[in-house]
Symmetry: C2
Subunit: 298 residues, 2 copies
Amino acid sequence: MIGLTMKHLRYFEALSRYGHFGRAAEACGISQPALSLQIKELEDLLGAPLIERSARQVRMSGLGEELAVRARQILSSVDELGDLARASSGTLTGRLRIGVIPTIAPYMLPTLVKELGARNPELDIRLRETVTQTLIRNLGEGRLDFAVVALPVSETALHEEPLFDEEFMLVRSLKDADKPVPNADGLREMRLLLLEEGHCFRDQALSFCSPTTLAPRDLMEGSSLSTLVQMVGAGIGVTLIPEMSVATETRSAEVSVVRLPAPRPKRTVGMVWRKSSPLAPQLNGIAHMIRGLSRKAA
Amino acid sequence: MIGLTMKHLRYFEALSRYGHFGRAAEACGISQPALSLQIKELEDLLGAPLIERSARQVRMSGLGEELAVRARQILSSVDELGDLARASSGTLTGRLRIGVIPTIAPYMLPTLVKELGARNPELDIRLRETVTQTLIRNLGEGRLDFAVVALPVSETALHEEPLFDEEFMLVRSLKDADKPVPNADGLREMRLLLLEEGHCFRDQALSFCSPTTLAPRDLMEGSSLSTLVQMVGAGIGVTLIPEMSVATETRSAEVSVVRLPAPRPKRTVGMVWRKSSPLAPQLNGIAHMIRGLSRKAA
DNA sequence: TAAAAATACTCCATAGGTATTTTAT
DNA sequence: ATAAAATACCTATGGAGTATTTTTA
């Protein structure tokens, strides 16, 4: 493919993403005709139509779809070259894009960002908080440098670096504080407050209460651990929260927190990054640092 | 990595390959200063030195080595985009680069090329005959579209498509034609003629005669099956050759060819190609065609 | 008729050429 | 002294802009 340029790929990728010449051109910071021309040139180069032009909508041809996928891979590899160069300087510099799931972010980010910033003053830290599924996709697309999630994620292209295990704690109303601590069977009889669909912590908590597909008798949903704890405080039910969130979430709530009996539910918190990431040595360093921090906190 | 172009990668890849600005420039079809400029620009872009300039020799820095590897991968992915487009036309067109090992090439290529050419008049067939190891490397580098070798090759990036199994035949002097057919143990007592190092067929034949590391008592080497058979004809020893070569190689030689007793040595002949190859459907078609040809020949 | 893509043209940034200088052996 | 890379300078290709036309829902 002599004659093919990065611009061809960049512009075509944008077109496939937006499905609109004008929008794609804007995203690329060029004019619509400029993009049109480059796309046409790309089609000439490949000798086959990439989009079905019906003047009102942009539809990818089969070849176009396939090319878009490959173009994304190539562009992501190219972007990694920049990381490679920055990583070679040894120290962590430039931009670092971190993704964290919502049930970890509020409790870990403050110390993590503070430490990272202190040790690498040059570092431009960008954060993204969303569910595991989205983080994994973003990693694959090269839009994140690493993510902190509950392991395993089981993606062959990603490296998993365990950080620490942590138990789930039972949160219940103060007036239940004297009652015996329930086991998994007991929990199933209570009104259990859970995060909404999409959060892995919801699934982990559920799988503890009902290893089978049997759902707990009564179940309510909230969108953050904070909300759940507040609801418990209001006497609406009980919930499970990870150990690291206890200090923050129960500070302003009138609730009782107890450790559950064995088999104690737990999750493994870890970092994940692309196996191809040139930042691997630095990321391992960060993992080491986090382990140090969590040991100090414990 | 905004601003990075294919040219940067192409030129740098050439420089890393030739280790010489002038030679690399020539290979790229540009002048030496033009290449110098592009390399310098690439270094500025990445913000780090890629080569150690000591005026008399070009040495890659650590970063340079790593970049060269990644550049090769990217360029090879880019080259595949061209195949993708050609493949989308359904029929096999353009250039098809085939690699075949020496113990298959002379017996299979004539019919293969004839059939392929007949069915795809537009096809520009390029051939390369060399040992498996080199073919595999060439495949990985994107310099071949597929190869015909003895399976398995066990490369995770490559797809293996078995074509047929074939036995090894014993070739001995005409004056031994009446003697009983030796087994593996018997073979070890004879003077065995083998291909020189590097040919997988040599290893396959050896492993039959001496499953342990025990080498046969007496061993001589030749550089082609043809030579080996001629040597046998001259009464120098015995040798093993694959079934497909029997017709060709024994036509002009005064030798006796017999099938060996069980466990009969055999090899699996198959095609291999990059799992990412867009030509996969067409290559499967070729595999199908070859199976048909070999059935007819049998 | 209105929104979106394709054409027409103009301009300038830059890739690449030739000629030359610098550098290290 | 010489081979090889860097520098200087010039040219021309083509990428991108604005203005406009074509297309079809």
